[in-house]
Every structure is written in structure tokens, then in C-alpha cells.
């Protein structure tokens, strides 16, 4: 898949449960293809986790993710940005978030990755509710 008339590819998906294998590919013209995956850790605040249960506020969650992705792509001059986020139960060691970015050069791809994740964690209506392991 390639971008049309210079517009970046922007794709957002909010999916039930842990994320499967990546399916996005680097766009034509990309010199960098960056894939960040957020994984549920076994410990949170020093306590053992079984899972995180992610909560969204549809349709606002997807709308805000899409808005943030489009802004990030425009600001950084990206070729593509793909966002996938789980809702519901995601167990330890499973993937709850994936951000895939295609850019001409690594500099803007790396900057976009950090800026997007920082803004998502600050602003987007998504919440994780811990399920603790028995003590």
C-alpha cells in the first residue's frame, strides 16, 4: 500500500483482547519502519498482575486516536501511521498496543513514536484496570 498524492496513511483500530501478529507493512518510499508494541508487564506498582482490562469510551476513543495519529503524521511528515489498541482482557506478556510508523528517515519516525505515545497516555480516553494475582 502506498500513500495517495503525498497524504500519509492513517489507520486506527480498537480491538477486543490482546493484539495478534502485525499485519501492516512499510509504505513505499519509507527509509524507516518503526514498530512499537506495548506489553502487559507481570508487575505493576510492585504487585503481581494477572491481566489488565482495558476500557474505552466509544466512539470518542477511536476518534481521539485517529485525530492524534493524523496530527502526528502531519507534524512529523510521516508516510504512514498505524495504531492498534486493545479493549477488554489482556494477560501478562500479551500485547495491548501497537504503533507502526513509516517515515523517510529515522529521525522523524523516532520523534513521532515518542510524541504519539506521550500524548496518548496523557489525553486519549483509555483506561487500564489491573487484575491482581492472589497473594
Amino acid at each position: 500500500m502506498s500513500s495517495d498524492l503525498g497524504k500519509p496513511i492513517v489507520e486506527v483500530a480498537v480491538l477486543d483482547g490482546p493484539l495478534g501478529k502485525p499485519t501492516s507493512e512499510a509504505p513505499a518510499g519509507a527509509g524507516a519502519w518503526l514498530v512499537f508494541e506495548g506489553i502487559v508487564r507481570p508487575l505493576e506498582e510492585g504487585r503481581r498482575l494477572v491481566a489488565l482490562v482495558y476500557e474505552a469510551y466509544p466512539p470518542m476513543t477511536e476518534r481521539e486516536l485517529r485525530r492524534l495519529a493524523a496530527e502526528t503524521a502531519a507534524e512529523q511528515g510521516l508516510l504512514a501511521i498505524h495504531v492498534e489498541h486493545s479493549v477488554g482482557w489482556v494477560g501478562v506478556d500479551e500485547i495491548s498496543f501497537r504503533l507502526s510508523i513509516g517515515s523517510r528517515h529515522r529521525v522523524e519516525g523516532i520523534a513521532a513514536t515518542d510524541k504519539f505515545i506521550h500524548a496518548m497516555k496523557r489525553d486519549v480516553p483509555l483506561w487500564k484496570n489491573p487484575v491482581w494475582a492472589p497473594e
Binding site: 476500557e55 469510551y57 470518542m60 505515545i117 497516555k121 486519549v124 480516553p125 483509555l126 483506561w127 487500564k128
Partner: protein, 80 residues
């Protein structure tokens, strides 16, 4: 004006409910936040860093709220 405010995540857990009905002195987002602080003590410390969404869009304090609007408190978010 009575306004129902939807709660999510840790704020719903703190308040012990998924929605709170408040009596706002005036039909604005700012007044609703003040009413939330007054009526639900468990939310008070998280409110300064929270925002209201009306009909799925973030709004500022001066935004007018109408009777059929869907109002949600968006705070303590933790995506990713």
C-alpha cells in the same frame, strides 16, 4: 440544572458508580466540574487534571451544556 456525568476507569472505581447526577449552578462545563467536586469527595483530587467531554468532544469550562447532551468525565487515563 441536573446533569448526568459518565465515569470511567479509576474515577468510576473511586466514586463507586459509573455515573453521577449533579446539580450545576449554571449549564456550563465549568459549573458541572465544580458540582462534581462538591458532590463527590472521592473525585476531588483527580478533577483538576480531568476534562469534560460533551457528545464525545473535549470542551472548555465555558462550553454550554444542553439537556440532551452526553457528558463524560475524562481523567486518570492510562492507555498504551
Amino acid at each position: 440544572m441536573q446533569v448526568t456525568v459518565l465515569l470511567f476507569g479509576p474515577q468510576a472505581t473511586l466514586a463507586g458508580t459509573r455515573e453521577v447526577v449533579v446539580e450545576a449552578a449554571s449549564p456550563t462545563a465549568g459549573a458541572v466540574l465544580e458540582a462534581l467536586a462538591d458532590s463527590t469527595e472521592s473525585l476531588a483530587t483527580s478533577l483538576p487534571a480531568s476534562r469534560l467531554a460533551v457528545n464525545h468532544e473535549f470542551v472548555d469550562a465555558s462550553h454550554a451544556i444542553h439537556p440532551d447532551d452526553e457528558v463524560a468525565l475524562i481523567g486518570m487515563v492510562s492507555g498504551g
